[in-house]
Amino acid sequence: MTRTVEQPGPRQPLRTETSAAVATYVFAVCRGGDPAAVAGLPGQAPGTPVRLLRFGSLEAVVQDVPAAEFDAENLRERLADRAELERCARAHHSVIAAMAGSAPTLPLPLATLYLGDERARVALRADERRFLAVLKRITGRVEWGVKVYARPEAKQEPDRSAEAAGAPGSGAPGSGAAGSGARSGRAYLERVRGARQDRERRQQAGLAAAEAVDRALRGIAVASRRLRTHETTLTGERGVQLLNAAYLVAEGDEHDVAAAVREVRRSPACRSVEVEVTGPWVPYSFVDGSFVDGGEPDARG
């Protein structure tokens, strides 16, 4: 089974109050992290250092941020602004990526906040066992993102083809524009039918291609996850997104990923789609406690 989630985004309730002047922003949890790896980074509040906070046998990568700027209301406002969201997400990611270079790192959701170090430590300690289990799963592994798009040129608007049916079924195209009486209603229906069948064929082919890509990558992945596909407004000039998936792959298996993608791109099933691969990423999609290897939801929670 696969689950659909949106990421990155605040998945946990924001634990903030407005009274304190300084809040503790937690980027990630790691084991044996090197403070120097993140020391110089701006993080979410340029000017204050990004540092490590020990709890139990692990460390959290944290930063003091002005509580007023990060209270629930302000945060909601800021994260609703796409440009600001991007800035926050990039700052969040750059700290996580830097730490992941030095130690096994478990990224926490964007905007994970506590009222001070003490509260952060108490809350994180309560989750220590889960963190250890997830770290065990992601250590030595990276995430690869694979997106499949229908090729825009392969997609023809059905209404455009139907429009063309305005021309008479036989005879010179275009002459139909002169008098509607000369055009055949049956020919129009025939064209509409043809366009519909074309589209169904295209949809089938697109889905089959997405499945083929997913199968190929699941073959080399430790775990996989299907994410919610992006709206067309976000994918811009590209075609409709048919697959948005993440694969947890052993570090050093980049060649296998590349080979699998190359092969699947060449396969006849994928003629009408575009396959986009990104990575290696810190395994953002596999830090949820509800996931075990193989991508099955963990009943034990």
Partner: protein
């Protein structure tokens, strides 16, 4: 109303902007979207009936002509309001779009 370029007003944050002119245009777009949905449903129903074979050739010709004229009329209406057929759609999130693409 998928907020495509040149389409209905979508603010920088993906919010609708309440500029009176744009509200009028968005309303036209919404009405035309509903009309387009009905047109497509009729077209589908007509094809279905023809496939079942319970329509005479003459009836089929008449239905086809009507639908063809309706399709042309939609193009005219869209052109009048500076919209394209691509603008006539609603994004239903995980359900996909209201009209087939």
């Amino acid at each position: 109303m998928t907020g495509t370029e040149g389409g209905p007003a979508r603010g920088r944050n993906g919010r609708l902007e309440l500029d009176p002119d744009r509200v009028g245009r968005d309303l036209v777009c919404l009405v035309l979207t509903v009309v387009e949905l009905l047109r497509q449903l009729m077209e589908r129903q007509a094809l279905h009936r023809c496939d079942q074979g319970d329509v005479t050739d003459e009836q089929e010709e008449r239905i086809g002509t009507t639908l063809m004229l309706l399709n042309e009329r939609m193009d005219e209406l869209c052109a009048q309001h500076g919209l394209t057929r691509d603008d006539l759609n609603l994004d239903l999130g995980p359900l996909g779009t209201l009209l087939e693409r």
